[in-house]
């Protein structure tokens, strides 16, 4: 009997255990995605739920999404959930390659247990949008980190206004890099998940608010949010400054006419920023693209005065390849042009790419552009004759700011001569040059690569050598989508390539010199540095800092008036930390009558605030010089000695469309009610 009893006990234990009534650890953990969307529009959200069984620790799951370049690092909120709990999955802002992403849930108790993958098809936005590409560079306003930063991105803006008159930001991507703390996660970059474009007047001033998934950027009140002021020259182009107080910067905002090929088969490019040591850096050159999008070209680098020019890239066996852009026109360059920097690009159109340095490891930051040298499939051939009478502007950045502008003529063979203004008083200390005669020799090879070397006896300030990189004669550098201003087409990029200064700029052909031709409505903008200090708030810790402004106005007979946005968070121009949306600008330009398109004036800048939130600042008077390229484009620089310096442009304002104006009127009406 005893043996029989024991036997029965063993059998019972075996059956009980086999039935799973004993320790659950003997049963394998399973993870099943029990709820997930099958289709989502870009940037929209859907609920996901995972069920976990046989997990004695009740550890739940962590969610993941592939491919990483499409999904980013913030796809799920929360990123991990208990069994049966809901997380919200946000679709990427761009349609990924293949049109879908894959999501999985992984056991937090046992990382080797992963759910079956679920495929989510990503579709286009459900509302009609237009895409715009933007870029800017400037100075951050963070305690102990007033770093130079670069940002480039793309936003999809609804084509139909909301009930309040604003245009919704439906989706977007960007890459932000300050070289110290903040580099957008790669390969995804930051996702722009929302925001708005609000026109503040019918002339085309607007505020662009972007909500991103990167809480490190923006100010402490609205982490992840950036606010830009825009001055539209037309429906497709605006000058842009960041003015949310977290940073100040200048750049351009342009309609994206294409997200993919065909693109030019050769490009000229410049980028500028700060290297890992904190010195200013400029890189420039030309490159050609083969049928496989491989880049080969010639590179010039000026890294804090250390100049290396004429370097062929890539150096075999390395390769450099323009990657495939996503549905928003964002892509990455595989391999490095300079051997260290990783660059992402945003397609503006068939002939324009914005370039931004995105590697966190190198500790540097830069942004710039590549411009086509001719239509797709053509192989342009350039020479010294490609550059004739031109107007130019070259400037540094907030670390070592200087500004130069001028007009020159060439003999189309090897010599140039002209007149220019140059202000390096904040960087080198020299007195500004006003209407200084300069000249020298220049060369341009067949690929549009060359240099301007200033003569020993007729330089312009401390400028010694400018690298020159010629662009498509049919391309408008300042306003790439503008095909109506033939006078503004063509020209070249400049980059200072000597040990004295580091900066970049452009030259455009000069077709008008009379100040009377520079008439009508205009947009204007500038980026500069000043030495004033804020008298409001804690004791100042800064001595030379950046300010930026954009605005809209008109010129008639040399009389210039305008209103706009002044971003002066450091008080470097106004001695008051200013984020003004109603700054007033006025000047009375006087033609120097030398027939070179040069005129001068004092520029008055003022603003009125509602006390006591922000006190008014005294009217600031800046000495400026304008060089006119054509009836719709001019460069101007600030020539004040030891107090401030800026460089910028004045561009014809042909107006935003009537539909936009109606939206402004609608918004104004709504606000009144």
């Amino acid at each position: 009997m005893k043996r029989g009893t024991l036997w029965m006990v063993f059998v019972a234990l075996f059956v009980w255990n086999s039935a799973g009534c004993g320790s659950s650890s003997k049963k394998p953990i399973t993870v099943t995605i029990s709820m997930a969307p099958t289709t989502l529009a870009v940037n929209s959200s859907g609920s996901v739920v995972a069920t976990v069984t046989h997990d004695p620790a009740n550890g739940g799951v962590i969610w993941s999404c592939t491919p990483a370049v499409a999904c980013g690092s913030f796809s799920f909120l929360p990123s991990s959930t208990p069994s049966g709990a809901t997380s919200v999955f946000t679709a990427p802002p761009a349609i990924p390659s293949g049109g879908s992403v894959t999501i999985t849930a992984t056991s937090l108790t046992n990382g080797s247990v992963v759910s079956a993958p679920v495929t989510v098809t990503i579709t286009a936005a459900t509302v009609a949008t237009n895409n715009f590409v933007f870029y800017a560079s400037g100075e951050q306003n963070a305690t102990d980190a007033e770093a130079t930063y670069s940002v480039a991105g793309v936003v999809a803006i609804a084509t139909t206004a909301s009930a309040d008159g604003s245009f919704a930001v439906i989706a977007g991507e960007q890459d932000y890099n300050d070289g110290i703390d903040i580099t957008s996660p790669q390969p995804s970059g930051d996702f722009i998940t929302g925001g708005s474009l609000v026109f503040t007047n019918a002339a085309g001033q607007a505020t662009l608010t972007l909500t991103t998934n990167n809480p490190a950027i923006g100010n402490s009140v609205n982490p992840g949010m950036e606010v830009f002021a825009l001055a539209f020259a037309n429906d497709n182009h605006a000058l842009i400054v960041q003015f949310d107080g977290s940073a100040t910067s200048s750049g351009s905002y342009d309609f994206q006419s294409s997200t993919t090929a065909p693109i030019s088969t050769s490009f000229a490019f410049t980028t500028a920023g700060v290297d890992s040591s904190g010195a200013t850096i400029a890189e420039a050159g030309v490159f050609a693209l083969d049928a496989s999008s491989n880049l080969t070209g010639t590179l010039d680098v000026n890294d804090g005065g250390a100049v290396v020019t004429g370097t062929a890239f890539p150096v075999a066996p390395a390769t450099v390849t323009l990657g495939v852009a996503d549905s928003l026109g964002r892509g990455s360059i595989a391999g490095s042009i300079d051997g260290t920097t990783t660059i992402n690009f945003y397609v503006v159109g068939p002939e324009v790419l914005r370039l931004v340095d995105v590697d966190a490891a190198s500790g540097d930051t830069s942004v710039g552009s590549a411009y086509g040298q001719g239509a797709a499939g053509t192989t342009p051939v350039f020479s010294a004759a490609s550059i004739g009478t031109s107007v130019f502007s070259v400037a540094g950045n907030d670390v070592d700011q200087f500004a130069a502008a001028g007009q020159f003529t060439t003999d189309s063979v090897s010599t140039f001569s002209g007149v220019g203004d140059e202000n390096e008083s904040l960087s080198i200390g020299s007195a500004p040059v006003l209407a200084g005669a300069f000249g020298g020799t220049y060369a341009v090879n067949a690929s549009g690569y060359g240099n301007f070397t200033f003569g020993a006896a007729n330089g312009l300030g401390s400028m010694l050598v400018l690298g020159v990189y010629v662009v498509d004669p049919a391309l408008n550098i300042l306003d790439p989508n503008n095909t109506t201003n033939a006078a503004g087409e063509g020209g070249a990029l400049f980059a200072e390539m000597d040990a004295n200064l580091v900066g970049t700029g452009v030259l455009i052909p000069q077709t008008d010199t009379a100040l009377t031709a520079l008439a009508g409505p205009f947009v204007f903008g500038a980026q500069g540095d000043g030495t004033a200090e804020s008298t409001v708030g804690p004791p100042p810790v800064t001595v030379i800092d950046e300010f930026d402004f954009v605005g809209e106005g008109a010129i008639a007979g040399g009389a210039f008036t305008g209103t706009g946005v002044l971003s002066d968070p450091f008080g470097s121009l106004t001695a008051t930390s200013v984020q003004s949306t109603n700054a007033a600008f006025s000047a009375s330009f006087v033609d120097d009558l030398e027939g070179i398109g040069r005129s001068t004036s004092n520029l008055q800048v003022s603003a009125t605030f509602t006390p006591p939130a922000t006190p008014d600042f005294p009217t600031v008077t800046l000495a400026v010089t304008v060089y006119e390229a054509n009836a719709g484009q001019a460069f101007w620089i600030d020539t004040d000695d030891l107090t401030d310096v800026f460089a910028g442009s004045i561009q014809s304002n042909t107006g935003v469309t009537a539909a936009v104006k109606k939206r402004v009127q609608a918004r104004t009406t709504n606000q009144k009610h």
Partner: protein
């Protein structure tokens, strides 16, 4: 005749060498000195002295170079040591007070008819602060802020 042939041959070789430059040399930068070098490191000197004044911000009216300055009393006289815009700001900034002994390395330049010591390095309290690079470009606080934050993170481990 032989020596003439040799000399002619030598000249021929030299001529070949002279003309055998790379094709891209046509556009290679040649650094003619239209303007003096911003910072000629071959003229760099090191001075030792006592700080008599720390000018945190040069007033434009004084026509001093923009940025901050140290006024240093040396055995050979008073030196205006220009520090640029970043030396006294940000993490890891130069900390120096009046009466402190310092060693400054840089180049003496005449700017606006004034002798200015364009400072590249400052040694104070056993620390060497890099103010400018070897070409005289002021260095933003980027590198030292990154280093300071990196050290801080390490310290937390």
């Amino acid at each position: 005749m032989k020596w003439r042939s040799s000399v002619v041959g030598l000249f021929a070789v030299l001529a070949l060498c002279l003309f055998a430059v790379p094709i891209h040399a046509q556009t290679t930068v040649t650094t003619k000195t239209a303007a003096p070098l911003r910072y000629d490191i071959s003229k760099e000197v090191t001075l030792t002295g006592t700080v008599s004044s720390v000018v945190k911000k040069a007033s434009p009216e004084t026509k001093m170079m923009a940025g901050s300055h140290l006024i240093v009393e040396t055995t050979s006289g008073t030196v205006d040591a220009s520090l640029g815009g970043f030396a006294l700001r940000g993490m890891g900034a130069l900390t120096v007070t009046t009466g402190q002994r310092v060693q400054v390395t840089g180049v003496m330049k005449k700017i606006r008819d004034k002798e200015v010591f364009v400072t590249r390095l400052v040694q104070a309290d056993g620390h060497v602060y890099t103010i400018r690079n070897e070409h005289g470009f002021a260095l933003a606080p980027t590198a030292r802020e990154r280093a300071t934050k990196s050290e801080a993170k390490g310290g937390q481990l």
